[in-house]
Symmetry: C2
Subunit: 295 residues, 2 copies
């Protein structure tokens, strides 16, 4: 019954980690966040990295989710195949220390030609469902480095598709011929909307992206509009993929508020109502419900 | 009449430069190549960088083409708008030293929503036409960092579209989550062909690219096939853009033989016959015909 007395939930991604101490009443008692993502931990260094969290937040049972369970993480927690709900995840926890430290498995899709994987988003999406924030049959869009479009059926993840929208924007702004044009911040507005429309129309990205530069060179577009237009273009293309997978009805957009805002604005242009949900809240819901299933 | 006695032609790109001494008989008498691309020359350093070429190949009139005429180069040679043929380029040379050193202008497209620019490829394409290697009404595909699809009408560049295929592969293999999968070399074969077909079908690139990784993680695709599949996918998407612009009849694929081979293989899958042309030969044809127009 130790988990009912409180535990620590950790969302441990590639480039950063966040951890919360959940009290016996289910409320957040303390929290921490730093940039010690999975890629920054040396081989054999996870024991120490976890001890840092315990030293900071207290010695409690610990539930770890995200890339910490990948082959680049602490210990690989094999994917649970779709359809996957919280009971399937709870039944396939990877126990690093039995009863004390568990890694949540990711979810995989392997159906004919389709193949996809996720680690971390499943806790948020299934947590939001368990908490009643979204229905059991829903479409979730989870923007981030890798956006996930997720179909929930009967409260379980039935299928999903990953789109590299965030990573693509980062590659272009960091290393491409568009880098100097993309130094600014993307924001909703006319340039963003024009980009979304081009993406929704099915413009070929590798061609359309060069046009961003050419239009500025020829004085047909404003340099300062390039980040918003390009973000819109990538998100519009992303929506083409996601809406082909989505059922009817509203789309729940879950994640960081700056990203969910952009995706909700793009969905409005596509004529689809969107419900925005804070990813951190959803993660904590998922962690609490998983902890209940452990006991 | 000094140009008729021989001159030096320079193809000066972003990352390297190639120069040839053309004799009075039009044949290549000597040549050089190094990695002193435009980006490696410091501000104010072009006089010295050009003197190196003269010291190596002889003191002759000099015709420079490529990014050396851009705002990052020696001196900006304003774009000639479409339709542009060799006479238009010759009439708009940027003379750094009158009668002795000229920079060839690039070509721009500015038509309604369409905007595009090129620097360097125009010499090759118009040179191939002037030499009779391609007809006056032709479609040219010029793969490279930025592939150019070019429509020639009556021997002039009537329109064109740039696709960032080469740069995208380089971004993905250098900096993305696919980097370790893309370390190998792309080559024609079944994996390449499967990628081309996906691209021709209109698969959304940002979604399809993540699937490359997921299929390997789930054991549905071989790791060593990832470079060829990904190259095929990008080239297939590129062809969708280019063939929408192309007229009927064969496509002339011009450039480096390793790249023209991949594009010709992809065009065959799209049911379009392709004629491969060596870009260096075409450049020398263009330089010779431009030199004739100077006299």
């Amino acid at each position: 019954m130790r988990w009912a007395e409180g535990f620590i939930a950790v969302d441990w991604g590639t480039t950063n980690r966040r951890a919360w101490r959940i009290g016996a009443d289910g409320a957040v008692a303390d929290r921490m966040e730093d940039d010690k993502g999975v890629l920054s931990v040396p081989a054999g260094g996870f024991g120490h990295a976890v001890a840092e969290i315990a030293a900071r937040l207290g010695d409690r049972p610990m539930l770890l989710a995200g890339m910490v369970g990948s082959n680049r993480g602490w210990r690989e927690a094999p994917y649970v195949p779709c359809p996957a709900g919280l009971p399937e995840l709870a039944g396939r926890l990877e126990w690093v220390e039995l009863g004390r430290i568990a890694i949540v498995p990711g979810v995989s899709l392997d159906a004919g030609d389709a193949a996809d994987v996720m680690r971390g988003e499943e806790v948020q999406v299934l947590g939001a469902y368990a908490e009643g924030l979204i229905g059991g049959d829903a479409t979730v869009c989870h923007p981030g480095t890798h956006n996930k479009w997720i179909r929930l059926e009967d409260g379980r993840i039935a299928g999903f598709r990953t789109v590299m929208t965030g990573e693509m924007f980062s590659l272009l702004s960091g290393h491409s011929i568009l880098a100097d044009l993309l130094a600014g911040r993307a924001a909703p507005g006319p340039a963003f909307e024009a980009g979304v429309r081009r993406g929704l129309e099915g413009a070929e990205l590798t061609a359309e992206l060069f046009s961003v530069r050419a239009r500025v060179l020829l004085g047909k577009a404003r340099r300062e509009d390039a980040p918003s237009f390009t973000s819109g273009l990538l998100i519009g293309a992303d929506l083409r993929t996601g809406l082909a997978l989505a059922g009817a009805g509203p789309v729940s957009v879950m994640g960081r508020p700056d990203l969910t805002g952009l995706f909700a604005a793009a969905l409005a242009l596509a004529g689809r109502p969107a419900q925005e949900l804070e990813g951190e809240d959803a993660f904590l819901c998922g962690a609490r419900h998983l902890a209940e299933l452990i006991q």
